[in-house]
Symmetry: C2
Subunit: 433 residues, 2 copies
């Protein structure tokens, strides 16, 4: 049986998950591939630390060169995370003729073009299924089974922490801060939750998807990004009244020669498949001109699910090595499309105001929308149960409009004296056709 040697950089959560996924299923992998795949060396700068996994000590090295420069190693699995030194290590491995598998979304979002080009120049494979939506085989599907399709849209729930928080807020009518504290206590959110709750993690993943689906380079820092910290239980309650759930969506859409991208909380209609994705689960919804609507649902994080995706790539590369075909004719990541990035694009929106409970305020607000050519789909004005306050909530859902037109309307709405405050503005996902 042909043997494939793997060198692994990093043995944190995903590293232990990858090691475990292979160890638990060694016989299965051998019978399905006819290959003996072994993780032979592991970069571990803290070998004294207990990882809760039984790995022979002689596999560990603290010197990355012992892996990157070892001619017996066929595939490097990069699981250090962060942009550097991960990118440097991957490039060096490729130049040494090694295939590279990674779960590193930040490094690909920042340096995908260089990594991809270097892999092509050195006739090695570069794979990264685990970098988007964990165990869900979305990248494989887009780049293989769905290759014939031109895609219109890719929209995903790409971050498990925020979906867990929004689900708990929705189910129990609780406030954001309470739920976040709970999630931190349970280990679903990190002590510094910024990357998750402000949408930065989802932005890295959306940047990768945009390259795969549209062949377009959009850096994470270019993507209009809003996190979930502004979402209140009131927003969730009003969304529910209108038949929606609030989800943090990463979305990229093509319209003619234009690409619009955003990461932001949005109202998802209850009958859309994304609305039923709860708790820490992720999902990617896409539409292609042959396959029509598709959704992939599963665990977007966690050691074993992510390890499953890493091992899927390692197995693909190993099979290609065995066949003498471990090179790509065309890279998976593409940045050459003749398209223009236009920011957030058009959308339907939800707008929540607090207004004085006096006659005329509704018509004044409606006038401000009309002046920008924005038509109102639904409006809800609710009497305030607390009679000591004279402010009442006023909720609008408006039909598709450009965000700039909406901003002009909001400027004019702010000037209406009876309008106390614009409490929130959220995207509304298109209804299913």
């Amino acid at each position: 049986m042909k043997k494939i040697n793997v060198g692994m950089l990093g043995i944190g959560n995903i590293g232990t998950g990858t090691y475990r996924a292979l160890e638990q299923n060694k016989e299965t992998v051998e019978s399905r591939t006819g290959l003996s795949i072994e993780i032979v060396k592991i970069l571990n700068r803290h070998p004294e630390k207990d990882r809760g996994i039984d790995i022979p000590k002689e596999k560990y090295t603290a010197d990355v060169s012992e892996i990157l420069d070892d001619p017996s190693i066929d595939i490097i699995v990069e699981l250090i995370g962060g942009i550097e030194p991960a990118t440097e290590y991957m490039l060096r491995a490729m130049k040494n003729g090694k295939h590279v598998v990674t779960a590193n979304k930040a490094a690909i979002a920042a340096n995908g073009e260089e990594l991809s080009r270097t892999a092509m120049e050195n006739h090695v494979l570069f794979r990264f299924e685990a970098s988007v939506a964990g165990g869900i085989p979305i990248i494989n599907s887009i780049t293989q089974a769905l290759t014939v399709n031109q895609f219109d849209e890719v929209t995903g729930i790409l971050n498990g922490t925020t979906n867990y928080i929004l689900t708990a807020m929705t189910e129990f009518g609780r406030d954001y801060k309470d739920v976040l504290k709970d999630a931190q206590a349970k280990g679903f959110a990190e002590a510094d939750p910024t990357a998750d709750v402000e949408g930065l993690d989802a932005g890295n993943k959306l940047s990768i998807l945009t390259s795969l689906v549209f062949g377009m380079k959009v850096l994470p820092e270019e993507i209009p990004t809003n996190g979930i910290s502004s979402i209140t239980k009131e927003d969730i309650g009003f969304a529910k009244d209108f038949g929606y759930k609030i989800k943090l969506l990463g979305s990229a859409k093509q319209d003619g020669k234009e690409i619009a991208c955003s990461v932001e909380p949005a109202l998802v209609p209850n009958d859309h498949p994304l609305a039923s994705v709860e708790n820490e689960f992720n999902a990617v919804f896409l539409t292609g001109n042959a396959v029509d609507k598709l959704m992939f649902y599963g665990r977007g994080a966690g050691p074993l699910p992510t390890g499953s995706a890493v091992m899927g790539d390692v197995i693909e590369v190993s099979r290609s090595i065995a066949k003498g075909a471990a090179f790509d004719e065309v890279p998976l990541l593409r940045y050459d499309a003749d398209l223009t990035f236009i920011g957030e694009g058009t959308s339907s929106y939800y707008i929540r105001l607090d207004a004085s409970d006096i006659p005329g305020v509704l018509s004044a607000v409606a006038d401000s929308f009309a002046e920008q050519g924005i038509s109102i789909k639904t409006v809800l004005q609710r009497a305030n149960s607390d009679s000591s306050q004279d402010a009442v909530p006023l909720i609008f859902i408006v039909h598709k409009t450009d965000r700039n037109m909406l901003n002009l309307a909001l400027e004019s709405i702010k000037k209406i004296s009876a309008v106390r405050e614009i409490k929130n503005v959220l995207r509304v996902l298109d209804e299913e056709a």
Copy 2:
């Protein structure tokens, strides 16, 4: 640019969809693969028939040998359907050194072992993504990205016609026969709907999945199969009261060394991802020991979605040809697992009775379950609104039990004089953990 020549057998719905999917996206395919893929010959025994698609007449032939024996053709796409002569044509193509792509579930379910062996012997590729769940890339995902996993379960909504009918019955509280007539009028169900509504179509697909996921040969005719024609609006209503939707599920599960399979309508808990799959959509849910839960959702039929899957395979084979690696080391379809097929296996069940409205009937039925060691999870006895009848519905959901034990209990329940009729017995899908 390297050219790949494809010969297509059959130009019905899927054939036209495949041709159209490629024609619409020719440039996209070329830029993503670096290959020029062309459908050069098409077996069409009725060239006079208008297919609603513009295909140059010179591509048509009524003689299958002109395709199977043409040395310039690299890949045969078999879209005739049915077991024969499709199997014979595919075997002949393989023996002629041609790679074979098919959407033919019946031929694979019946002859997968011979087709798979012949492909291996002739060092050609055999691919069949479109045979299960149309455009959904489930076979690719199972055999590539998810290879490291040992699977516990695969459960799917594998037939669009029945899901459309059950959805309409649920939404509008209508009877099976009414909805079926409507579906036939709209073209969602065939004039003879047997293969769909009696679960035979789903059985073929489940047979293929069982080979891919467990390496186990279970022929469609061995799978315990029940269709949806026994489902009434009453069943759907009671299921709803208990928090379930009724779906036709094809399911295969491994427990130790045993494999259980069935195709039957089942109660799916509302919070299970399969419950939100509506109308003509399909979905496949599976659990693996690394990836955990996954679900794939999309169109299980239709010319273009199925054409998307066929072209996905054609592109994979074409890329492999271009790399000189168009062979498998290990076949995708496996029939060599050391497992025993045990039929339907254990499940939780829903039982609906009509009983006389007299004291003691509930305890008599409960006793019959208890005698077989079956414990009751929930029971509903509802007063009859129609006072002219003294029969009342009595609904039980029982905890996991062997179907044989349940049958013994049902025999004894039938003998209770106050029990008028056992109206229906349906599987209940496990609650989410």
